[in-house]
C-alpha cells in the first residue's frame, strides 16, 4: 500500500447520493482474479454506451462523451466529491481498486457505506467525511469555476481550495496507516501470542466453537 501524506488534485464531482459499488464497478469485472487493472471500468455502465466484458478491448468500446470521467479536466481528476452514502451496497473491494487504478487518492462526502470506507483505507485511499455545508460549498466552487484543485494534508487533517481551508476528523489508526503505508497483516501477526492466548481461554469456555468445519459432522 502506497503511503499518503499530502495530495493535490482535481475534483471529480458526482452530485448524487447513494452511489453504490455496483455503479462504481459492475459485476462482470468481479470475475477477475487480480486486484489491479480495473481503472478503465470505473463507472462502466455510464462511461460507455455499450456493454463491456472483462476481456473486451477498451479501444473497441463506444465512449459516452458526456459522462464526467470522459471530460477534461475531470478525466485527470484524483479527488472524488460526492453526496451522502457514497459506496453503499456490495462489499466488493474491486470498486475501490477501480477508483485507485483510475488515479483517485482522496474522496470527500458527507457519509459512506461502512464497508466501502474500510476498503478505501485498506488500499491507501483517504475517504474524508465532512459536514454537508462543506460539500455544498465544494460543489458550488466546482460549478462556478469548472476546475477545482484541492490540497489535502493527512497529518494536519486539512482540506483546502485556494484560500479556503476546512478541518476534517480522521481516526488516529487510519491516519498512521495512511502516513506509513503499513502492512496490516504483518502488524497484527506481531500480536500472535495474544491471539493464541485468547484462543486457549475461549476453547476452555466454548469448546463447540472449535469443533468446526473440517470435522466430519456427527
Amino acid at each position: 500500500m502506497q503511503p499518503l501524506s499530502r495530495h493535490r488534485g482535481i475534483v471529480i464531482p458526482f452530485d448524487r447520493a447513494n452511489i453504490d459499488t455496483d455503479m462504481l464497478l459492475p459485476k462482470q469485472y468481479l470475475k477477475s482474479l487480480d486486484a489491479y487493472g480495473f481503472g478503465d471500468f470505473l463507472f462502466d455502465d455510464e462511461r460507455y454506451l455499450d456493454h463491456g466484458e472483462i476481456d473486451t478491448p477498451v479501444a473497441n468500446r463506444r465512449i459516452n462523451p458526456g459522462f464526467v470521467l470522459n471530460r477534461a479536466p475531470y478525466r485527470h481528476g484524483t479527488v472524488v466529491l460526492a453526496q451522502a452514502n457514497f459506496g453503499c451496497g456490495s462489499s466488493r473491494e474491486h470498486a475501490v481498486w477501480a477508483l485507485r487504478d483510475f488515479g483517485v487518492r482522496v474522496l470527500v462526502a458527507p457519509s459512506y457505506g461502512d464497508i466501502f470506507r474500510d476498503n478505501c483505507f485498506n488500499n491507501g485511499l483517504l475517504a474524508i467525511v465532512v459536514e454537508q455545508p462543506v460539500v455544498d460549498r465544494l460543489f458550488q466552487l466546482v460549478r462556478s469555476r469548472n476546475v477545482v484543485e484541492v490540497d489535502v494534508d493527512v497529518a494536519a487533517g486539512t482540506l483546502a481550495v485556494a484560500d479556503e481551508t476546512w478541518k476534517f476528523m480522521l481516526e488516529e489508526g487510519r491516519r498512521q496507516n495512511l502516513l506509513e503505508g503499513l502492512d496490516q497483516v504483518g502488524e497484527t501477526l506481531m500480536l500472535a501470542d495474544r491471539i493464541r492466548c485468547y484462543e486457549q481461554r475461549r476453547r476452555a469456555a466454548e469448546p463447540w466453537v472449535f469443533r468446526h468445519t473440517r470435522q466430519d459432522p456427527d
Binding site: 455503479m23 487480480d34 453503499c88 466488493r92 473491494e93 485498506n122 489508526g173 497483516v185 495474544r194 468445519t213
Partner: protein, 470 residues
Amino acid sequence: MTARTLYDKLWDSHCVAELPDGSSLLYIDLHLLHEVTSPQAFSNLRRAGRKPWRVDAALATPDHNVPTVLRELGLGGFDDPIARRQVDVLERNCHEFGVPLFPLGDVRQGIVHVVGPEQGLTLPGMTVVCGDSHTATHGALAALAYGIGSSEVEHVLATQTLRGRKSKNMAVVVDGVLGEGVVAKDLALHLIGRIGTAGASGHAIEFRGDGIGALSMEARMTLCNMSIEAGARVGLVAYDRVTQAYVKDRPFAPAGPQWAGAVRHWQDLHSDHDAHFDRIVGIRAEDVAPCVSWGTSPEMVVPISGAVPQLHEARDDVQRGDWSRAMAYMGLEAGRPIHGTPIDKVFVGSCTNARIEDLRAAARVLRGRRIDPRIKLALVVPGSGLVALQAEHEGLDEVFTAAGFEWRAPGCSMCLGMNADRLEPGERCASTSNRNFEGRQGRGGRTHLMSPAMAAAAAVAGAIVDVREL
C-alpha cells in the same frame, strides 16, 4: 457492571486486544468464503508466504457466478470460461491451503448465507465474517456477523482476527404481529423506506420487540440480511427458543454433552433490560403492508397501495435529483400507482428469500395457477442444494414448474446477474432479492423488490398486484 446490549456483549467476548489507535482486534470464529472476493486474498497470502491461521474456522462454497443449469456437468456446465476459471481457482486455493469446501455437485453447496446457518456452522455467540455485505444475515442467530472486503478476507485468513471500531447501538422495535400476507421482507422494506439507506450507517441494529419474537428463524434471517440496505453492517436478533430449536441437530452444531453447555452459555445472548441504545426506531406491525420498491435504491419503496412519489415531496434538491434519475431509469412517471405495473421477468431467489419457507410461500400462491403469458421468464433458484432437496421432497418444484416457473440449481443467480440469468435493457423484474440498483440484475434492467408471495402474485397477474387480493 453496566448494562450491555447484545452487540456490546458479542464485541466484548471477542476482543483479543485494544489497540493503541483506539481500534480493537476481534477474534473471528467462522469465515465463509466464495469465489469472487477470495482469489486476491489467497494470492496475497501465497505471495507473502503466509499460512491460514485456522482452516477449521473457514468454509468455502461457490455461489456468485455459478450457472443454474447443467449442474450435473460440474465445471463443464459453465459456458462462461472466465467464471469457470474463478470457481476452479477457488477449488485449487482450498486444496492448496486446506480450506474446507462444499464444491459444485455437493448437495450442501449454495449461497454462503444460506449454507452457514443451515449447516449449523453459524452458531449463537459467534463472530462470522465473509467477503460479502449480506453477512449480516447470520445475526439472526445472535451472532456478530458482518461483511468485509478482500483485504480483510486476507487478514482473517492469516490472523483469525480483524481490526475494527465499534459501531453505535440502534434498536428497531417491532410491536405487534404482522398482518396476513405481510412478511419479514415487507418489514425490511418498510424500515428502509422509513429511515433511508444511510439511516443506520455507523450502527449495529438489534431487531427487538414481540413482533420479532413471533418471527421464525428464516424470517429473522431475511430481516437481518437487509440491514446493510439500511446502512448497518450488523443486524442482530437475541437468542431465544426459536434460535435454540433452529440450531439443534444441525450437522455442525454441538451435540451430546456439549449441547447442554452451549445452550447454557447462549442464554445470556440478549441485551440487558436497561441497556442503552444510541437510537431507537419503533414500528407498529399493523402499519406494515406488503411493500414494493419503485426506484433504484432500496429506500425508494412504497406500500402496494402507494404510488411513485411526486418530485415536490422530496426532502431536498439532492433527493429530487436522485428521484428523477430513478424515475427515468425505471421508466415510471411521478404519481403513478405501483399496483398494475406490468412485469417481464420474475426472480424468486437470493440470500434474502431462497430458504424453504420462502419457496413454500411462493408455491402457496402458485398452486393451481399459471403465470401470465406476458411473463418472459420466471425463475426459482433455491438457496442451497439442501433447500432444493427439501422443496422437491415436498413437491414444490412441481408446483413451480406446473405454474410455468423454471426450477434451477442453487446460487446467487439473478440477484446480481453474474451468470447467464439476468435482465435485458428495459426489462422489468419482480424480484425477491435485496438490491434494485441501476444495472444490478443486468445493464438497463429494472428491479422491483418484494416478498416471495408478492413475486409469485406478480407472475400470475403479469403485473405488480397485492397478494392479499389474489
